[in-house]
Amino acid sequence: MFRAAANPVLRRICQKEAVVKKPEESATTGADLLVKALIDEEVEVVFGYPGGAVLPIYDSLFKQNKLRHILVRHEQAAVHAAEGYARSTGKVGVVLVTSGPGATNAVTGLTDALMDSIPIVCLTGQVPTHLIGNDAFQEADTTGITRPCTKHNYLVKDVAVLPRTVHEAFYVARSGRPGPVVIDLPKDVLMNKHDYKAPDMPVQHKSYRPVTKPDAKKIEQALELIANAKKPVFYTGGGVINSGPKASRLLTQLVHLTGYPITNTLMGLGTFPASDKQFLGMLGMHGTYEANLAMYHCDVLINIGARFDDRITGKLDEFSPHSKKIHIDIDGSSLNKNVRVDLPIVGDAGQALEDLIKLWKAKQPKTDQKALKAWWAEIEKWRARDCLAYKQGKEIIKPQFALDRLYHHIKNRDHYITTEVGQHQMWAAQFLKFEQPNRWMTSGGLGTMGYGFPAAIGVQIAHPEALVIDVAGEASIMMNIQELSTAAQYRLPVKIFILNNQYMGMVRQWQELLHGGRYSESYSEALPDFVKLADAFGAKGLRCHEPSKLDDTIKEMIAIKGPVIVDVAVDKTENCFPMIPSGAAHYDMLLGPEDRAARPVSEEGMVLV
């Protein structure tokens, strides 16, 4: 707009275009249509931040009270909060940001949602259509920028198609493999008027119809392989969670029916109760010894809703070399992407599990009990190594101990955990137990520091009564610390549990293991006083240095009604084990500091991340 005023040609264009289309009596503005469409989609909460281009939408929001708007303090946090909301409820998270910097700030969150398959609809403001391409004030090529980091995006150029676009966006975001969808909304489209027509639900998309029902023949083949396995292992991931809580119940049922061991990916924690004897813990780079060795030695690998990510496979040509691999995934492009599988099946995890259980019950297959007994005996031997063991002394708190105690105090409460990214994240995955799906929110694919706190805010909005804890590191938490203001505004009793080792711990660990202990820039110099920081934002700050006082601190944290930051000073030098060094195979795990000297990381491994 500033440019338009300065430039006579543009000013003329503006004046000409500024004549808003003649409104019909019953017609509604684009902004009102948008809000109506959101309500039709049963949206209850929008996470956002206002700005010039979206003022009409904020005006519409002001005039109604069905949609609740949560004002964040940075657009990236709006997307993470919506992710937390979506992951803990199974609904689509909705974000509203302005044009230009509002949209570009949202990009990290969108990429995060894309990598972790989280359904998000992100509404971005845009300069009026006649100014698009003119380098107008707060203009960015939002559809161009977000094309590779969304599942799909739209630029709405005509108010007539606005409601339809919104409904299509929700359909695309939640169907198939979920993901983020951006709708870019020029300001004139929001001001123009059009009649409202309620949509025909469900929306029929002309080209996007993901396959959810797996091929019956392939399910039969899968069952055959599963039933005849001698050393089987289930390997399940976020796809089971995305399929809905029923899929996790079905998975638990199938695993119990077969009596086979199961391991979860970072994203899949909670799909199978962690306290169950058949659970081997998480697998992958910081997974358990038993889970990774089971993957290496198994003869049938049953992957449901996981994607053979490089954190899971380690060295590709030595990944589970003796197994027949079944891979069930709703996204056909995940099949045979990293690892060649013997039986690729496109379909929804829940549907596939339902079919498998039905068939299992109908056929009542006899599994090889003798072989399975031997397999479990082998697994128990690995388990007996107790790969997550640590030694807690009297002086310094071990981060593992802090999480053990945290879990002890929350396990009988209705709780949700989010994390930032780094060592604390891996320890949380190892030491907190997840009995149900949708209780664990962490940035898996993108590894976004600063994810956990805003995500916790989103979770708390969805579950006001629950205990929501962001397990954080002192470096990560600084990346979205401004959201303390949001927590204060909405009186959200989110707990931030900082494992403070004064280092970017995972960076420090890699520098120790791979770069000769040259701790380049990984020391957290000039940290704030987190207790005073909490105080400044109207939250409560607690600090704990001594192992003996940890229990009381955690109890106090839980008892406080409002937001709390707990600054737990932990061992600065502790490393996260077990660890498969990058480029190594599953059997080549470092179990503790003693293992390190014996096996230096290879040159090839150093190139990998």
Partner: protein, 167 residues
């Protein structure tokens, strides 16, 4: 070791703004090759465009390319013509040649052999239109290079299955 080979992929997409950017972005973002790419509106009623891409990769990579294309929301159909039975491929090129005397005569003679049409003529130049497989077009251009070649414009490959079936 899997060997890389050339594949012609036909993609039917909604004719909407940004669709080409989506397809091209997918190829560059994931590190796939594009040997040639053609796109035009082919179904006015349904507003669909056909994109024909010639790409090269190992069987696993080509399978990935198809799966990734299929995943794009505005994509209706993806077919690997190279794998899915007999098909025909054609390319068109405009070739400008400048010269006089024996070279000019020779260019015209070769054009005749290749069934290239003269679509512009001046006393010292021709523009030829040549159609055929990419190999034929390439050969023609190579021959012209010693006869006063000035400019070449190529469409890239378009392709279709043989027989009466549509897809």
């Amino acid at each position: 070791m899997e060997v890389a080979s050339s594949h012609t992929i036909s993609v039917l997409v909604d004719n909407e703004p940004g669709i080409l950017a989506r397809v091209v972005g997918l190829f560059s973002g994931r590190g796939y090759n594009i040997e040639s790419l053609t796109v035009a509106l082919t179904d006015v009623k349904e507003n669909l465009s056909r994109i024909t891409i010639v790409t090269a990769g190992t069987p696993m990579v080509v399978e990935q390319i198809k799966a990734q294309l299929d995943r794009l929301v505005p994509v209706h159909k993806v077919h690997d013509l190279t794998l899915e039975g007999p098909h025909i491929e054609r390319e068109l090129a405009l070739v400008k040649v400048k010269g006089t005397g024996e070279k000019r005569v020779e260019a015209l003679r070769l054009a005749d052999v290749f069934r290239a049409k003269v679509i512009d003529a001046k006393t010292d130049s021709f523009v030829f239109e040549v159609t055929g497989t990419s190999d034929k077009v390439r050969t023609f251009v190579e021959l012209m290079s010693s006869l006063g070649l000035v400019d070449v414009g190529r469409t890239g490959t378009v392709a279709m299955t043989r027989g009466g079936e549509a897809f």
